[in-house]
Amino acid sequence: MPGHYVDIPVGREGAQVVADRLRQVYILRPGDTCPPLHIVAEKGSRTEVTLVVMPGVDVDIRVDVDLMGEGADLRMAGLYVCGGKERVSVHTRVCHRAPGCSSDQVFTGIAGGGARVAFHGTIVVAPDAQQTQAFQQSRNLLLSQDARVETEPQLEIYADDVKCSHGATVGSLNADEQFYMRSRGVPEAEAKVLQMLSFLSPVLAGLEEKDALAAELEQAIRSIV
């Protein structure tokens, strides 16, 4: 499939040096599409990829990352807010092909209305990729009976000296948190908005664009409550 992908080399030695550090932020609004991405991370490089899916977007996101050079580092964060009939699917495949690389993926979002969200995340650790650190987390909030979230993490580990973990949660708004806010006079709808912002905050807090994004995400949340 290489022809379908946008190839992004990071820290490549030789003619095509891009940078030691790559930051890509994709904010998808209605009408936007996202090309499949293939990131090749060379020795010692740092890569940060952020994907934000706003309400009203149907999208199929594919990100393949090859950590080719020793000590390459990847941070990937995804946020979505869906409240209608959106179809969002995210496939990530992170391959640790050299020793001492690290990867951290967090996908988190809110599905309401009749939205369908799927996350398939695969981590592969090649036999000689010793001292790999690979983490993956998928946290999802379901707002309605009709919304669906499918989350499928997969680990394929062929090396023995590695630290890997993955976790997935699908839950609903915390009732105690909501009552606490309402008991202080925060109206129910407003309490829900605060709760959802609170839910997204761990991912948001780590992003350079957090201030600009927070305002847009708050609006997005208000549009689906």
Binding site: F179, R182, S183, G185, L204
Partner: protein, 248 residues
Amino acid sequence: MSDILLKITDLHAGIEGREILCGIDLEIRRGEVHAVMGPNGAGKSTLSAVLTGKPQYTVTQGSVEFMGRDLLALSPEERAWAGMFLSFQYPVEIPGVSITNFMKTALNAKRAAAGLEPLKAAEFLKLMREKMAFVQMKPEFAKREVNVGFSGGEKKRNEIFQMAMLDPVLSILDETDSGLDVDALKIVADGVNALRTPEKSAIIITHYQKLLDYVVPDVVHVLKAGRIVRTGGREIIGLIESQGFDQF
């Protein structure tokens, strides 16, 4: 204006089909501080949850009037706007929401319900600073996420701070003394005492006399197995302290 702030009549309530309050009668006048004491499982926290409208609880019988209004017909936020406040036994952590943002939302919602404009930013910050100083919270807490990473004492102080901000008519303190050391207890007690006025009342729920050494109640009730089995004055606290709850 009626002298009676809260009137509970034959209140039966429970959770998940289990009856926990089995006929409570209680009357609180303006200016009074009532203590509700009882052993674990007596229904103390259920009483505070039912009075503030926690959705998981169901009232099966009886009535509650708050300043002449049917309290049970109001949502939790409407009860707050009417002047009720609950200091939680276990204050909830809200990551990503600052104390400033939370209090601004709460206070302005209460003002809106009374037909008032939102407070201007400068006025709001001044009020925040004043009330934080009042419970000896450091100013940097204004930016902290609500209760996240707070010690037990800090959480309880944050409750009293919010109480001071919202200026309730009836404050319910649910086990506010649990998990506090003496210094934190004194700060909390000073806060509660400073808010005592002839118009305002408080219910102090506890199974312990600690807080009542500092906030002296006018009336003491003993709650046991979902019923008030004894009502009297301060002398009851001493009885409980020396002989426990079995005597009632």
